[in-house]
């Protein structure tokens, strides 16, 4: 094996040298026309029927509303692979989530030059018993996460173009936010809240990092002045990296010049 390779290598090296030598003197002929297309197509191998290597539904028993993953793998030559019950034509290997509302048998049909083969997988759907009522709670809000509380109770504060001062509208928003933030932080003693500073698309992205930081800081300073604990407010500038809209209009720009609140990381 090794010696054979070695001989091949030597032959290759010699022919390379010869060709390289020849090249210095010889002009290659102008490019010949492309070879004619082969007269006959190569004889096709005798087709064999496709084989369904796998067709499963997991889990095979679910409660109504849950979903099941169908997985299949068909080998051999196929012209069409399909699954009934509304799934239709699929690739020869794949998976798909389905949510049958009642017990269903899925049939996979694989057709190829060698014939057609089918395979089935059944999903049993059991009806769910009605859920138990929620235990009574002291306050309805205690089930909300910090994230939910922020998104429902805290408003963005908006800024003027190229400015980071808390102006009239922002003062009102942050004054309302301060009360809600104090309540949330009191209820979640381990939580921190991030004040994000954002900018509109104007100005350079680099400059806007600083501008966003100044907006976040002045919003935080204002909140702290209203009694929100400063050690539980963090600031992050996103500059103009995370706009909430992308139109080049004053209404979009105004939406993006903001201090926004999110759960601390």
């Amino acid at each position: 094996m090794f010696s054979k390779r070695k001989i091949t290598f030597i032959c290759l090296a010699i022919s390379l040298a010869l060709i390289a030598e020849g090249c210095k003197k010889k002009v290659p002929a102008p490019p010949p026309p492309p070879p004619p297309a082969p007269a006959t197509a190569p004889a096709a191998a005798t087709p064999s029927a496709p084989v369904v290597a796998q067709f499963t539904a997991e889990p095979s028993t679910i409660q109504r509303g849950q979903s099941v993953t169908l997985r299949w793998e068909v080998s051999g030559e196929t012209s069409n692979v399909s699954i009934n019950n509304g799934i239709g034509t699929v690739r020869s290997t794949g998976s798909q989530q389905v949510t049958p509302t009642s017990s269903t048998t899925y049939t996979l049909t694989a057709t190829g030059p060698g014939g057609t083969i089918t395979s089935s997988a059944t999903v049993t759907v059991v009806t769910t018993p009605p859920p138990a009522p929620n235990p009574p709670s002291t306050t309805a809000a205690s089930h909300a996460t910090v994230e939910q509380r922020i998104s429902s109770e805290i408003q963005d504060a908006f800024f003027d173009y190229d400015k980071s001062e808390v102006n009239g509208g922002a003062r009102d928003a942050l004054t309302r936010d301060a009360a809600a933030l104090k309540a949330i932080l009191a209820e979640f003693p381990n939580a921190t809240i991030t004040v994000e500073g954002h900018c509109d698309e104007r100005g350079s992205a680099e400059y806007n990092i600083g501008l966003g930081d100044r907006r976040a800081s002045s919003a935080k300073d204002f909140l702290v002045s209203l009694g929100v604990p400063g050690d539980r407010l963090k600031t992050i500038s996103y500059g103009k990296e995370r706009p909430q809209c992308t139109e080049s209009s004053e209404s979009c720009w105004q939406k993006n010049r903001r201090a926004h609140f999110s759960p601390g990381q």
């Binding site: 190229d162 350079s204 990092i209 600083g210 992050i236």
Partner: protein, 457 residues
């Protein structure tokens, strides 16, 4: 069609001399007389035929995009194209009447072609490799035997990549013959944005100067932006939100790229827009330590931090003069809307460079340290940036783009003759390159949104 761009060393000197006369800014790159060049298509033998379109297009774009030649249109060439230097015959023996000409050098140097030089050559397969022989023929020398200004053989892989590489190498050799150095082998680092509005993703990428061989450097699935390359091309530093607040990360640019340790100051809410000093040993950046934001300097690993500016008026994008290492250009909001400033690297002698109109940002030093390319909204709406070049000593400037969308983030090529920049003229931010006189504008990226290019080694 994308075109590669090239550099010439002489251009920097020309730029400096001619910039003294502002009206001559527009001819700084093309200069007065540049040679006329005929570049007929090479033919390929056998298997190599399939890659000749790529080869011929690449060779043409490289030479055309270099700005070093007046390219003569292919329609003006004689009918018979020599395939090698020895195909040229002495004038009297070359052409029978009615043959269409081409085998005498005078057929190329006289009208309608009127070339100073012509490239000839061919490709052929050899041991399944793509082999190109190429000549540059100096048509001013009467004897064909002595007219070969360049004769080279290139052996590459038998595929499009190989054909492209052979064309790049041939054009590099031609450029070097004219005292120019080519940019093939340098890299452009940039940011590709994807994801959704709520969950945007920005990763650092690199590519060749013609936009080919795009390679993803970071895979954080987070926001990373503002790449800067070390002077030797071995490191890329950038700003990343991967750990929360913006901080500096550094990667090696080898294959595969790897993170390099960098110490960020704890507790700073902003540590951003890094760039390297010319010796590569230090990094200048924007930091909110002590208030947002000042210009700081640290060792390349982030240790030994100290402040350069103390005004806390949103100083950003510090860039150290690559020639002197002694001054810093930066943008700042200290006098109102963002403007460009310069100062000594110890923070003294701060001067505003732009006149206070509009917003000015994104300073990029020319390799000679005399010019800054930058983005400015002067004459346009807020946020509508165009690319300008300023002679820093004289404060006069030229405008290179003129409202074709927003044009930002200029960065000089190592040759000082080309710029790469971002333009959203196609509707999305994409990376473009151009000659420093504003001509030869070429789109380099088209997939996704791409911005913040920086041209390194």
């Amino acid at each position: 069609m994308k075109r590669i761009v090239w550099m010439t060393g002489a251009a920097a000197a020309t730029l400096a001399i001619l910039a003294a006369q502002q009206t001559d800014f527009n001819i700084i790159i093309k200069g007065g007389t540049i040679p006329t060049l005929a570049v007929p298509d090479f033919r390929g033998d056998g298997q190599s035929q399939s890659f000749m379109t790529v080869f011929n297009q690449t060779l043409w774009s490289d030479l055309d995009g270099s700005g070093n030649f007046k390219m003569l249109p292919k329609g003006s060439y004689p009918l018979n194209v020599p395939q090698q230097l020895s195909d040229f015959k002495p004038a009297q023996a070359a052409n029978r009447p009615g043959s269409g000409g081409g085998l005498a050098m005078s057929d190329w140097s006289s009208p309608p072609t009127q070339a100073n030089y012509v490239t000839v050559g061919y490709a052929a397969p050899q041991n399944n490799l793509f082999v190109v022989r190429g000549w540059l023929v100096d048509l001013s020398i009467p004897d064909p035997a002595n007219a070969g200004a360049l004769a080279k053989t290139y052996i590459e892989s038998m595929d499009e990549k190989g054909a492209r590489k052979a064309a790049h190498e041939f054009s590099c050799d031609i450029l070097q013959r004219f005292g120019a150095t080519c940019l093939f082998g340098s890299h452009i680092y940039f940011v590709r944005r994807s994801g959704t509005l709520k969950a945007p993703v920005a990763e650092i990428w690199s590519m060749d100067p013609d936009g080919k061989n795009q390679r993803q450097i970071t895979h954080y699935n987070a926001l990373s932006d503002f790449p800067a390359v070390s002077p030797d091309g071995s490191k890329v530093a950038f700003t990343s939100w991967v750990h929360g607040s913006p901080e500096i990360l550094v990667f090696s640019t080898g294959d595969p790229p790897r993170p390099i340790l960098f110490y960020n100051q704890r507790g700073a809410s902003v540590t951003a827009s890094p760039s390297f000093t010319p010796d590569g040993k230090q990094i200048v950046f924007q930091s909110s330590v002590g208030g947002c934001c000042g210009v700081y300097i640290a060792n390349a690993d982030g240790s030994g931090v100290h402040a350069i500016t103390t005004s806390r008026s949103n100083d950003a994008e510090p860039k150290v003069n690559p020639k002197t290492g002694a001054e810093v250009a930066f943008s700042s909001g200290r006098s109102g809307p963002e403007q460009l400033y310069r100062m000594n690297i110890d923070g003294t002698d701060v001067e505003r460079l732009t006149d206070g109109t509009g917003e000015a940002s994104n300073p990029s030093w020319h390799p000679d340290g005399q010019f800054l390319a930058y983005a400015w909204t002067r004459g346009y709406m807020a946020g509508a940036f165009n690319i300008f070049v300023m002679n820093v000593a004289r404060r006069d400037y030229i405008q290179l783009t003129h409202g074709e969308g927003k044009n930002e983030n200029p960065s000089w090529a190592p040759d000082g003759k080309h710029l790469v920049f971002m333009s959203d003229r196609t509707g999305r931010p994409q990376i473009w390159s151009m000659l420093a006189d504003g001509t030869q504008q070429q789109q380099l990226t088209s997939e996704g949104s791409n911005l913040h290019p920086v041209w390194g080694k």
